[in-house]
Amino acid sequence: MGKSTLLRLIGGFLRPSSGEVRLQGKRILRPTPQAVLVHQSIVTFPWMTAIENVMLALKPRRLPRDEARAMALVALETVGLQGFEDLYPKEMSGGMRQRVAVARALVADPQVLLMDEPFAHLDELTAEGLRQDIYNILFNESTPLKSVIMVSHNLTEVMELADVIYVINGSPATIVARVDVSLARPRNPRDPEFDKYLDRLYNYLTPRGRNK
């Protein structure tokens, strides 16, 4: 089992061979808009404009078109894409496309966001910008989100964003450590405490560190 499989199990895309996944005490037996997955490979539909991509998440609710459009516009504005709603994904950069995917996830009004290495396919500068934006969105009081489960290989990114870190390693993957991060926000990567946490995480992931 790997990290992406774990997210798919949590999201109800795959069924666990043992155990179960519960959200607010209720079992997740199939994918639900209450827990929306944001993929590592950026998923936008090339035949739809940015706003149509976002409105896709509202189709099952059968809202009036104007209302759905208004909600999608708000979501696009939240991710910094106001004014770009009529562009097709091919007319956008990778970072903009991933913002569209995040807006689509947010407009579904989920309780949990499942993020599978959402910045992995972006260059470092774009990833950093989007990371900051996601940070602002997630910690915005108006966001109905209760939680975000993000998988990442980027330890600095993990330290910047997470309150609780589960370190998984090996094949099949197992949890090798749980780290509760008690640093105040916003976190500064130059803070010596930040570095200490990073060292701990590296140690869990290297053979030498694990054998200590």
Partner: protein, 541 residues
């Protein structure tokens, strides 16, 4: 009626049949493909059936069509249905397999988005599957239009024994003008037909351009891209589906569906869906029953003495088939050589390509049977003086070539265009000669495309033979006829109203061609996939 108006109406009727039936194929194909990716049992039957029907040339359906529609339904509707059915069988397989392959290769991530937001059947089709299939459909429209026009013009007028059946269209109109020696009208009809075909081709090219611009992916999502995938590649998809995560997901969903109703705390459970399994099973049983009943009726309607005659004829029919295979081989070799030179030149020379490719597309869509009699009339004295009694063979081979070279040409041209640019740079860097390039780099790297094109050329060559091997009163009071050939046997038997012989020869033909396709073509495709996929060479490097 004003002759020009009549010509336009006739051409529009023919074009309407072709395009309308293609549209019908596309729409029906979406639902069948969706069912195929949802049900393994349906998928196995569906793909196997398409594979056999695609490898059996459309023309071998002719006696069945005659029996079913013309003699069974009868009247103008029967004749119209016969023409429509022939065109339907000419255009449908390419389109259906293209849609199936598109549906089967929708990236898992896209499907997960649909699952996440709980899309139902219609929303999945509308927002994901159908848009995703558009580029694949557009790639299959050109060959389908060519095939459709080719067969519609010969199926609008046909003779069975003393009866001649007609349905309104350009084929019927031309036949009538030629019979009355109204040559000016014939030429004008050709021009009108050319104009309409040009409009259709331009429209399709525009549609293809838009489809590629709007509906193809260019993201990081994993997706199989191999140009025009051949039907035989379906095996790979079936193999893939048995191990890929999507299938696991599907299995999980199937499993979950069975367990539904036993768990009480399904807060995030979907509402119960209707189970269409029984309806599909019922429809399948009905179709199998009808086929069995039809077969029983046909077998019992032929007397024992007739069966004896048919069985005694079989060795001769097989020998006739051998003659035809030799013709198909010659046509294919010539088409192959033509494609290597012209296809490569077009792929490397953008100016020549801008003119040449649309010209060849237009030419191939223009139905050969309409203008071939004039070529025959012009060339017969010359060819008779050179080839003597074998001039008929030359005409038949030429007819076969011009009606079928397009497939191998187009596939090879696409293959060269799809070659990684690194290969072209290496060829230039090493200063390789033309034949060195061909032998060592271009032919191996375009091998999957070549096999795909060659198999289509072989399948379509039979249509040319069917028309050319026996063509009474082709032009100038002359007839075109070869000495041996199974297509001639079927033609003559149909013309004489001897449907038992025509159907028996067609059946033998269908069986042999299907076996050939499954044994030979599929192996070549497997070899192409294992050894000659150029994109992977670059990727792994």
């Amino acid at each position: 009626m004003i002759p020009l108006l009549l010509m336009f109406l006739a051409v529009l009727a023919t074009a309407g049949r072709v395009l309308g039936l293609m549209l019908a194929s596309v729409v029906v194909g979406w639902f069948l493909s969706y069912q195929a990716i949802r049900s393994k049992a349906f998928e196995n039957i569906y793909i196997a059936a398409i594979e056999v029907f695609e490898s059996v040339p459309v023309i071998s359906f002719f006696p069945i069509v005659l029996a079913l529609f013309v003699l069974g339904v009868g009247g103008p509707i029967g004749v119209e249905l016969a023409a429509d059915f022939l065109v339907f069988t000419a255009v449908v397989w390419n389109i259906w397999i293209g849609e199936y392959q598109a549906f089967k290769t929708v990236p898992r991530e896209m499907l997960e988005v649909a699952q996440n937001f709980r899309f139902g059947l219609l929303n999945r089709l509308r927002y994901i599957y159908i848009p995703f299939s558009v580029p694949r459909i557009s790639a299959n429209l050109f060959p389908s239009v060519s095939d459709g026009f080719f067969y519609i013009t010969v199926s609008e007028v046909f003779a069975v024994g003393i009866h001649t059946y007609r349905t309104f269209g350009v084929g019927t109109l031309l036949d009538s003008y030629i019979a009355q020696s109204l040559w000016t009208y014939v030429v004008e009809t050709f021009i009108v037909l050319g104009l309409v075909i040009a409009v259709v081709i331009i429209g399709l090219r525009e549609f293809s351009k838009r489809a590629v611009a709007k509906y193809t992916l260019d993201t990081d999502m994993p997706i199989v891209r191999r140009g025009r995938l051949n039907l035989r590649e379906s095996i790979r998809f079936t193999a893939m589906s048995s191990v890929n995560p999507l299938n696991r997901l599907a299995k999980y969903n199937m499993d979950r569906r069975k367990r539904r109703g036993t768990e009480q705390d399904k807060y995030y459970e979907e509402p119960r869906q209707k189970n269409y399994g029984y309806a599909w099973a019922g429809a399948g049983i009905l179709i199998v029953g009808l086929i069995l009943y039809g077969s029983y009726r046909i077998v019992t309607s032929v007397s024992l003495a007739e069966w004896g005659t048919l069985l005694r004829m079989t060795p001769t029919l097989l020998l006739d088939l051998l003659y035809d295979y030799a013709r198909v081989a010659i046509i294919t070799v010539i088409a192959f050589i033509f494609s290597l030179f012209v296809g490569y030149y077009f792929a490397m020379n953008s100016r020549a390509e801008a003119i040449g490719v649309p010209a060849i597309q237009g030419f191939s869509a223009y139905p050969v049977p309409t203008y071939f009699p004039f070529i025959f009339l012009a060339a017969v004295p010359f060819l008779n003086s050179i080839f003597g009694q074998y001039s008929s063979e030359v005409f038949v081979l030429f007819l076969g070539f011009i009606s079928t070279f397009y497939y191998v040409f187009y596939s090879f041209w696409m293959g060269v265009k799809a070659m990684p640019s690194e290969y072209l740079e290496i060829m230039e860097n090493l200063n390789l000669g033309f034949f060195q390039k061909m032998r060592m780099i271009i032919m191996p790297s375009t091998f999957p495309y070549l096999i795909s094109g060659i198999s289509s050329t072989i399948n379509s060559a039979w249509g040319g033979l069917m028309i050319g091997e026996f063509w009474p009163n082709i032009a100038g009071g002359r007839s075109l006829e070869v000495s041996h050939g199974l297509m001639k046997v079927i033609d003559v038997a149909t013309n004489n109203g001897n449907l038992a012989v025509a159907a028996w020869a067609s059946l033998i033909f269908g069986i042999v061609v299907a076996i050939y396709s499954l044994v030979f073509t599929r192996r070549m495709m497997d070899l192409a996939r294992k050894k000659y996929v150029a994109e992977e060479g670059i990727y792994s490097a």
